[in-house]
Every structure is written in structure tokens, then in C-alpha cells.
């Protein structure tokens, strides 16, 4: 069964813009991205919307639907009632380029600042061996599709532009945790996490975990464990002493 949906879409650019109302046909089983494509095809050929895979795997189509950061291609129209007004806006933590497209380069800059994977030397036969139970934890974080919905929702930067310089955001703090837990990595990342990437700014309110389309438990499995590791390093007198006299390896 098809019906006419009431859509409100943010249109404009950095100079200004606002919400515009449209009525668009919806067929059974469609997602919000389908409706935007139909809008593009029938009424607004110049509507800018970024997308790629339509399968929740490329992380391109991030936007906000009824105020909640979501993937356009994974949000089914069936989750709304037929008479509901559905509001679609660009991500609101990043600068807008045009319509639903934002400039997410903040995230690439942060990614570049994370010290790279630094594995220990290869074994004599030239291979890197690790046990499955040792890589299991960081593997969860590898599911990330870099949609940056978590970066967008995190109030540390969403509500405070000035924090952007000192806070890497959940996705990249998770990357630090991933490397700190990695069985082959040799760098110690606790100080960097706290001092340069703002782990202490996170107040574990879990919005990143709430919006992650991959269902990664960012707060429980990456951020809080990383905070605990930082406590080991920075706030516990006994481990500080232990480290100074050269004991206590993980």
C-alpha cells in the first residue's frame, strides 16, 4: 500500500537555510533514503544528500530524523505513522555544505592525530601470532563503519564547538582503546587518551552507544575500560610506584 507522507527537509547552506515542507509518495518497505530519492526525482532535483551503499555499510547517509542521529538508509518509513511529519536535517555537530550534506573533515583530522598501530617485531618466521581471546575485545570496535553518528550526537562537541580542539570524540577514543587492548600493539596510550584526546571530557552518558548503527557498546566496552586504564596510570599511587620500579606488565 502506498500513501503520501509529510516530509520536512532542511535546505540551505552555511549562509542560512531552513525547513521546507513536501508531500512525497511512500511504498511499502521503503526507507527514508528512498523517499528523499523520490523527492529528488520528482520535486527538488538539486537536493543534496550523501549516500552510497543503501545497506548500512558505508556510513555515508548519516543525518538526523525527527531530531535523532540515524542512517537514512536504515530508517524504515514503517517506524512512523502515516500522518506523522517526518523531519530530516543534516548532522548538527558539523558545518553544513548544502542541504543534508555536512563537512565531516573534523573526524578525519582527529583520526590522523591518533598514534598509529605500532606492533612488536615479527617472530623469527616472519609472522605475527596472536591468540583469538586476546583480539576478541578490539575486534568489536572493528565493526565501525565510520558513519560518525556517535561523533555527531556526543554533547561534548555537539553543544560546545570550543571543545572540538581538545576532544577526539567517541569514535576515536574507541580507536585508542582498540589499540591499547591490541595484543600486538606496543605503545602506551593512556596518557595520550587523557591529555591529548580528552577522554576525561566524556561523562559516560552513553549517547554514542545509543545511536551506533553497528550496535557497538562504545561506552561500556571502550570508553569506561579506557577510563579505568587511565586511572591505573594516573590516579593510583600503588600502580604508579609499581611502574616506577619496573614491575606490573599486563
Amino acid at each position: 500500500m502506498s500513501y503520501e507522507a509529510n516530509l520536512r527537509v532542511w535546505r540551505g547552506d552555511a549562509a542560512g537555510g531552513g525547513l521546507q515542507d513536501f508531500t512525497v509518495t511512500v511504498n511499502e518497505g521503503e526507507v527514508v533514503l528512498d523517499i528523499l530519492h523520490r523527492l529528488q526525482a520528482t520535486q527538488t532535483p538539486d537536493l543534496a544528500v550523501r549516500w552510497n551503499c543503501k545497506a548500512g555499510k558505508c556510513g555515508s547517509c548519516s543525518a538526523e530524523i525527527n531530531g535523532r542521529p540515524r542512517l537514512l538508509c536504515l530508517t524504515r518509513m514503517g517506524t512512523f505513522t502515516e500522518d506523522e511529519v517526518i523531519t530530516v536535517t543534516p548532522l548538527r555537530a558539523f558545518p553544513v555544505m548544502r542541504d543534508l550534506v555536512t563537512d565531516v573533515s573534523f573526524n578525519y583530522e582527529k583520526a590522523a592525530q591518533i598514534p598509529a598501530f605500532s606492533p612488536r617485531p615479527r617472530e623469527a618466521d616472519g609472522s605475527h601470532r596472536m591468540q583469538q581471546i586476546d583480539v576478541e575485545r578490539p575486534q568489536e570496535f572493528r565493526k565501525c563503519i565510520e558513519c560518525f553518528l556517535c561523533q555527531d550526537v556526543c554533547h561534548v562537541v555537539r553543544d560546545h564547538e570550543d571543545n572540538k580542539k581538545s576532544f577526539a570524540g567517541p569514535r576515536f577514543l574507541m580507536r585508542i582503546a582498540e589499540l591499547d587492548m591490541h595484543p600486538l600493539d606496543q605503545l602506551d596510550r593512556k596518557d595520550v587518551a587523557q591529555e591529548e584526546h580528552g577522554l576525561g571530557m566524556c561523562n559516560i552518558t552513553k549517547c554514542c552507544s545509543e545511536v551506533c548503527p553497528e550496535g557497538i557498546k562504545i561506552t561500556d566496552n571502550a570508553l569506561i575500560p579506557m577510563k579505568e586504564r587511565v586511572v591505573d596510570r594516573k590516579y593510583v599511587p600503588s600502580t604508579w610506584l609499581g611502574r616506577t620500579i619496573g614491575r606490573r606488565k599486563g
Binding site: 555537539r158 595484543p183 552518558t205 586511572v231
Partner: protein, 265 residues
């Protein structure tokens, strides 16, 4: 409510929209319920901690007063360590442990940052503060001491378990008896164990801090078990909170004579 901070979603370059949030669901409900529940608990426990009476009904002691460590204590469930002035409720000496433990708990932090401090009130709803430093400065940097409260909390759990075992006595102090109160005290102690063992700091110290689980099979097992409990930490936080208050209330009913403890044997 309709303004946006020029430093936040209203910052230059971002898509202009003069609303705090476009969320259409009842995002305010959860913070509201959290405030109501926590305020109810704080009021009740404060009144009870200062009441300095009706916390002991042979053989049961209220968890708000256990371990009872002064000579002022009713009953004698625990060694009396010192004598304080009579007007100071014995609950006040020990309050710091459960209070500090829950106050620095990662789950409660989330709950009160969101509901009391509105930082943020709900996801993608602008917070009302102009600037934000998170847990990087005094006093919130002290949240990092959570694990010490966790250790102290474990000691308290031992005491409360001991008190629960002491309640397998009758009113004359004879062993191998049991009443409804015994079940309540035991349940309370069990819930507190579940709350403590599902703690994020617990998860870290049993194994989370390791880089190579494969070198520590026993700790890996412990970590796996705590991780499983940890996914329900929020649930245990609430259930144990409500049950502590209920246990205290039950003891109060007995102590005031409003109710008679059904004895099983």
C-alpha cells in the same frame, strides 16, 4: 527552551535551526522519572539516617545502620569500636561508603548527569550550559576514585552478609531459626553483591586491565563472568537501591511494632 547556544548547535557554519531539539518522542520522561526516583530515595534515606531509632528489631538490623560500630547502637550485631555522642546517629559514620560508591558509580553518574545536571538531558537535546569540561577538573576528577569505593563496598557486603546470617536466630538469640526478615536480609545482601560484582571497576580489576588474556586463563574466566553481569549493571543498581530502602522499611515496621515478623521455624 527554544533557543540554541551560539557555541553549540547554533555555532557558525552549522545548519541553522532555532530549536533546542527536533525530537518528537517523550525524551524528557526518562530524566524526569530518574529525578523522582532518586529524590524519593534521598529523602527517605536521609530521614531514616537521622531518625536514630527503629533500626533494630531482634535479630534484624537495617542496612542503613549496618555495620553498627558505636556503643550507641541498639542490639549488638557488630563489635562496638568507639562511643560517639548520643545525638549522632550511628548511620552517619558509615554512610560515606554506600553513598560514595553509588555517587561515583559509572551508571549513577550517567543517570544524574543526564537528569539533574542535564548534561545532556537526552541524546541530541541541547544542554543548557555555556561551557563544559566533563570530568577533567575538581570536583568531578574525583570520580576516578570509584574503585576505592568499590573495594570498601565489598567489605560492607561482607558485613551485610554476616548480618543476614546472624538473622538465622530467633528473638532469644538461638540459632537455626528463620523468619520473613531473614529472607529479606539475605535477598538484600545478594542484590548488593550483584550490584558490586557487575561494577565497571570490578570488571577492570579482575581482568579488564590485561593486554593478554591468554596468559591469565583464570582472570579471563573471571572477566568473562563479570562482563556478563556488567551488561545488567543498571538493572542491579536500581533493584538493589529499591530493595535496600525496602529492607530498612521492613525493619522499621518490626521495630515500631506495626508488623510482626512471620517466623518460619
Amino acid at each position: 527552551m527554544t533557543t540554541v547556544a551560539p557555541s553549540g548547535t547554533g555555532a557558525p557554519g552549522r545548519a541553522r535551526l532555532d530549536v533546542r531539539t527536533l525530537r518528537t518522542d517523550r525524551w524528557w520522561l526518562q530524566p524526569l522519572l530518574t529525578v523522582l526516583a532518586l529524590v524519593a530515595f534521598i529523602v527517605y534515606s536521609t530521614v531514616r539516617a537521622f531518625e536514630n531509632a527503629n533500626y533494630y528489631a531482634e535479630p534484624y538490623i537495617s542496612p542503613f545502620y549496618a555495620p553498627c560500630i558505636t556503643t550507641q547502637c541498639e542490639g549488638s550485631t557488630f563489635p562496638e569500636l568507639f562511643s560517639g555522642p548520643a545525638f549522632i546517629s550511628p548511620a552517619l559514620y558509615i554512610l560515606i561508603v554506600p553513598l560514595g560508591f553509588r555517587l561515583t558509580c559509572y551508571y549513577y553518574r550517567k543517570a544524574y548527569y543526564r537528569s539533574f545536571w542535564m548534561s545532556p538531558p537526552a541524546c541530541a537535546v541541547a544542554e543548557p550550559h555555556g561551557s563544559y569540561t566533563g570530568e577533567t577538573r575538581f570536583p568531578l576528577i574525583f570520580q576516578n576514585l570509584h574503585r576505592y569505593f568499590f573495594y570498601a563496598g565489598l567489605v560492607f557486603n561482607v558485613f551485610l552478609t554476616y548480618e543476614a546470617l546472624m538473622s538465622f536466630r530467633n528473638e532469644d538469640g538461638e540459632w537455626f531459626h528463620m523468619g520473613l526478615g531473614t529472607v529479606i536480609l539475605l535477598t538484600n545482601a545478594t542484590l548488593l553483591w550483584l550490584y558490586s560484582l557487575s561494577c565497571h571497576s570490578c570488571r577492570h580489576v579482575v581482568g579488564g586491565r590485561l593486554k593478554h588474556f591468554s596468559k591469565h586463563p583464570v582472570r579471563y574466566k573471571a572477566w568473562t563472568a563479570v562482563s556478563r553481569l556488567n551488561t545488567s549493571h543498571m538493572k542491579y543498581a536500581w533493584i538493589s537501591l529499591v530493595f535496600v530502602a525496602f529492607t530498612d522499611f521492613y525493619v522499621r515496621l518490626l521495630a515500631t511494632g506495626a508488623f510482626d515478623d512471620p517466623r518460619f521455624f
